[in-house]
């Protein structure tokens, strides 16, 4: 792969939150690069600053120490070529399902309203919610809401999909369904996906590469390639084995670091 294939490049990124007279270092010298079309998971215990890192990639938070280069140029505004999914679906209850998906398409130039609706309903069918276009948000289950959020993020055809623990509030069964959907969609479209999660199995099932972060302040413990064939399932023995290995990395290396901090 050549240099031009690098989609996201973070170098020596640190982040300190100051509150009053004390300050908390959440990220410590993070460097990584992600290729175009790659599916990468950032795995870490809660509070290790992984969501902060994702917010910085999305330019929802400023990056003051180190720099993050997306698409070979430095931006400071959230843009539509990087769509984001949140832990909560963040759908707008004043619109119905279809209008929620159309929302992200409103700023795409050269489309008529009818075309926007056609695209939106195409993506709703893709996530299996073709029959729910006219439903209101409060009528959907948690899993359905995240599907709508996925459709909304995919509809503007972004180059990148940033996922901030989008499955953590869902039950295990719903998660399995969504893992299948996400793998299917990634296989179809090969978007660059950056997933933040604290669920080891989720990271192993979905990603090609897992970046393991330590306890706060988050440091990269390991950059772990997952060379299993797609589609994967949480029940695969090989997935379990790798998940065990990663958990070990998190515990042993993480705990060592933690001990040395004290």
């Amino acid at each position: 792969m050549t240099e031009t294939d690098v989609k996201i490049c973070a170098s020596h990124v640190s982040k300190v939150f100051t509150g009053g007279c004390h300050f908390i270092k959440v990220l410590d010298d993070i460097s990584f690069s992600i290729q175009t079309g790659e599916f990468v998971a950032i795995l870490g215990p809660s509070g290790c600053g992984k969501s902060t890192l994702l917010n910085m990639v999305a330019d929802l938070e400023p990056c003051k120490e180190g720099n993050i280069i997306v698409n070979e140029y430095h931006t400071d505004q959230p843009e539509r070529h990087r769509m984001m999914m949140f832990q909560e679906a963040a759908l707008f209850p004043w619109y119905n399902v279809l209008s929620n998906v159309v929302y992200g398409l409103r700023f795409k130039k050269g489309l008529t309203n009818a075309e926007r609706k056609t695209i939106a309903s195409y993506y709703l069918r893709m996530v299996g919610l073709g029959h729910f276009e006219r439903a209101y948000i409060h009528e959907l289950s948690g899993g359905m809401k995240q599907r709508v959020a996925l459709a909304r993020a995919l509809a503007p055809n972004p180059q990148m999909l940033l996922m901030d623990e989008p499955f953590s509030a869902l039950d295990a069964l719903t998660c399995e369904h969504l893992y299948k959907d996400v793998q299917k969609i990634w296989n179809m479209q090969h978007k660059t996906i950056l997933l933040v999660t604290h669920n080891v199995r989720e990271a192993v099932v979905l990603a090609q590469r897992v970046i393991v972060l330590s306890q706060r302040p988050g440091k990269i413990l390991k950059d772990f390639p997952i060379q299993l064939p797609y589609p994967r399932s949480v029940h695969d023995v090989s997935v379990s084995a790798l998940a065990n290995e990663l958990t070990h990395v998190l515990h042993v290396k993480g705990d060592d670091d933690y001990a040395s901090c004290i």
């Binding site: 959230p78 707008f92 004043w94 209101y136």
Partner: protein
Amino acid sequence: MKYRLLCLDLNVVKSLLKKIAYLFAVLCIWQFLYVLGGCSDLIFPTPIQVVSFLWHACADGTLMSATWITIKRLILGYSVSVLIGIPMGILCSRFYILNAFVGKLVLGLQTLPSICWVPLTLLWFGQTDRAILFVVTMGSLWSLIASTESSVRQIPSLYIKAAHTMGSRGVDLWLTVIFPAALPSIITGMKQSWAFAWRSLMSAEIYVSTIGGLGIGQLLHYGREMQAMDQVMGIIFVIIAIGLIAEKVLFANVERILHKRWGFIKSSN
């Protein structure tokens, strides 16, 4: 299907009958208390006297014209409040400096009972309709500014974050996300402010007798001056009825729509 329609009709009739029976029972108790207490008619009128007053006031048109004048004042005063209060509340939530100045003023003026504006308004405007409108507006405006400001400030930041990533900015963000997200609590604030406007209007009408025509509150006041207890009681019932009907007509439908879309009605806090 036919059977179900019949069922529905029966239910409606049943509930109507229940209401009539309830009303009748209340009137009976009232009459009984009158007989029991042995008070003078000047202190405690019978239900028949009150009903006959209402009947005569309806027949000669005084009640209708007073109701119309009162409702006109209420709508005018409240509209001024809404037209100033909601934009002002939104501006306060947007600009910190404005909120620092206006916010404190609003908090202070909100605690002032609207009746306290009457002496000032009489000196400024005299015994005119404008004096009454001023009291109504002062009574409802401040709470509306405060509630609109807090409604907008309290919307989940996640909505704004999500809209940001989808490219929405500035005016578009306000129209498509911030305002709709705040709408349920803004409506709750408007409802509260409407109640304040209604109370302010009644105090103003009782204290300010104007050349602009007799309102319901003024009828109540003259009822006292003429020692006509049947008039006082009758008008009190009319005031209750107007309050109930206005709230139903104005807010019940809006709240139903909100409930259907948002899936809940934000409770007032």
